[in-house]
């Protein structure tokens, strides 16, 4: 495959950034998208130029580190697939490929295609802890959990925190991410004691970090490499309204 790449190049957070057009010749269709970028980088290094900076780690679709806007779609054209799992054969027929970083005020570009997603870490941090007894592992069946609840918790917990939902959202909202994190603990008995405090704090930090809010476009669900449903956002909304109207924080009282 012979391709023309239009890659976003940005020297640093304060640089304006621009597209650079790079040729990618003799690309095997069996290469992964990131291997193709590696090859282009090697050529750039040979020419004494600065290689393209991009995020990657496990390259097997489970770590959530890679994140590229490939031809206007987060993680590229395949659904339920991260950018690292895209192979060049999936882009068959394309002669020009546009590669951009996630764009959102809360995700400032560090360099080229690398963005700072630590705002998501701070949302997680705001979620606090769950009340789990420490000590010897308890019997597996000591806390009964309904199958449907366990399944729902797993469907939410599958979120790898890649930020594709924010990248796809016209409002740059991290509601799908936040709702998945609120959801996976909220479905389980262990997550109940802090359930309402958690949603209040996480939504607060979500707003403070400069994310937008959801208008139910559904782009996040379609972009999510793990297929997380917008139904979790609905559940977060319900929890937040309930928490704001009725939740009473724990207070230390005299015995």
């Amino acid at each position: 495959m012979d391709l023309t790449l239009h890659v976003w190049r940005q020297d640093g957070p304060n640089d304006k950034g621009r597209f650079e057009t790079l040729p990618a010749k003799d690309i095997s269709e069996h290469m992964s998208f990131l291997e193709m970028l590696d090859l282009v980088n090697e050529q750039l290094i040979d020419q004494g130029k600065e290689p393209i900076a991009f995020d990657h780690d496990c390259r097997e679709g489970i770590c959530g580190t890679c994140g590229l806007m490939i031809n206007g779609v987060p993680h590229g054209p395949l659904s339920l697939t991260t950018a690292c799992q895209i192979h060049m054969r999936h882009l068959e027929g394309a002669t020009e490929i546009w590669v951009e970083p996630w764009r959102a005020t809360a995700f400032p570009v560090i360099k080229d295609l690398v963005v700072d997603r630590s705002a998501m870490d701070r949302i997680i941090e705001a979620g606090g802890y769950v009340s789990v007894r420490t000590g010897a592992a308890q019997d597996a069946n000591a806390t009964p959990i309904k199958k449907i609840d366990a399944d729902m918790a797993m469907d939410a917990a599958i979120c790898i925190g890649c930020g594709a939902c924010v990248a796809a959202c016209p409002n740059a909202s991290a509601m799908l991410f936040t709702s998945a994190k609120v959801g996976h603990l909220g479905f389980l008995p262990q997550g109940q004691p802090e359930r309402y405090e958690r949603v209040l704090n996480m939504v607060q930090v979500h707003d403070d970090e400069g994310f937008g809010n959801c208008t139910n476009h559904g782009a996040c669900q379609n972009a999510c490499p793990k297929g997380i449903s917008v139904d979790f956002i609905s559940r977060l909304n319900r929890d937040l309204v309930k928490a704001t109207l009725t939740y009473k924080p724990y207070e230390i009282t005299a015995v």
């Binding site: 779609v73 016209p170 809010n213 208008t215 559904g218």
Partner: protein
């Protein structure tokens, strides 16, 4: 009360108020549409209905008090709906930052893209509609109390009918996305009923479109005459 206000402080809370005011406004639209169909029952019937709206609650309430109570509720809903929409919009606009050079649409329905500019058109239309048929300022031959005649004369201009058509298409999109979206926002979400929310929004949006459009179309087609 403090909690009701603090709910408005969060982005999700703003949307909750947008959703609840939206539900009330959709309820109003259904009643308004059904009332409009009285046009087909003749001038006397329609004028009597118009008169009744002014006298709702009388003599328990003073003359027109029922109507004004109703109008105040609607005004509060419209105000809250627009204010929250504006605030969520500015939050989102600041959050989006840079635009993508190339971007594919991944949304569920095109209608969701029309909510903001469509809402502005609907707002402008509502102002015009009140000047047209309530106060009569934008009406060529407005006669107070002659509701039936006012409607027939009001729809003689094809331009007016065209504007009503455009506004109603926007309302249809607005309700198709808005009703479903409002269910999501208030958390009315259950695996058993989720499959019915989209069709309900579609059917209601189309019913409202057909019901409202039938009057201007009826006038243009000559079915409704003085």
């Amino acid at each position: 009360m403090r909690r009701v206000i603090s709910l408005y402080r969060t982005s999700v809370g703003k949307k909750f108020y947008m959703a609840v005011s939206g539900f009330i406004l959709i309820g109003f639209l259904v009643a308004h549409m059904v009332g409009n169909l009285k046009m087909y029952m003749g001038a006397d019937s329609f004028n009597h209905y118009a008169e009744f709206l002014r006298e709702v609650g009388y003599p328990i309430l003073p003359h027109m008090a029922g109507l004004w109570l109703f109008r105040i509720v609607l005004l509060v809903c419209v105000g809250l709906h627009m204010l929250s929409a504006w605030q969520v919009y500015t939050q989102s606009r600041n959050a989006r930052g840079g635009k993508y050079t190339k971007e594919e649409s991944l949304h569920f329905a095109y209608a969701s893209r029309t909510m903001r500019w469509g809402g502005v058109i609907i707002g402008a239309f509502v102002v015009y509609h009140i000047l047209h048929f309530t106060t009569g300022n934008a009406h060529p031959e407005f006669v107070h109390g002659e509701a039936y005649q006012n409607v027939i004369i009001g729809f003689q201009s094809p331009l007016v009918v065209a504007f009503y058509l455009v506004a109603l298409v926007m309302v249809t999109f607005h309700i198709y996305h808005g009703l479903w979206s409002a269910f999501q926002t208030v958390g009315a979400n259950h695996p058993k009923y989720n499959a019915y929310r989209r069709p309900l929004a579609l059917v209601l949006a189309l019913l409202l479109f057909a019901g409202f459009m039938t009057v201007p179309v009826g006038v243009v087609a000559g079915v409704l005459t003085i």
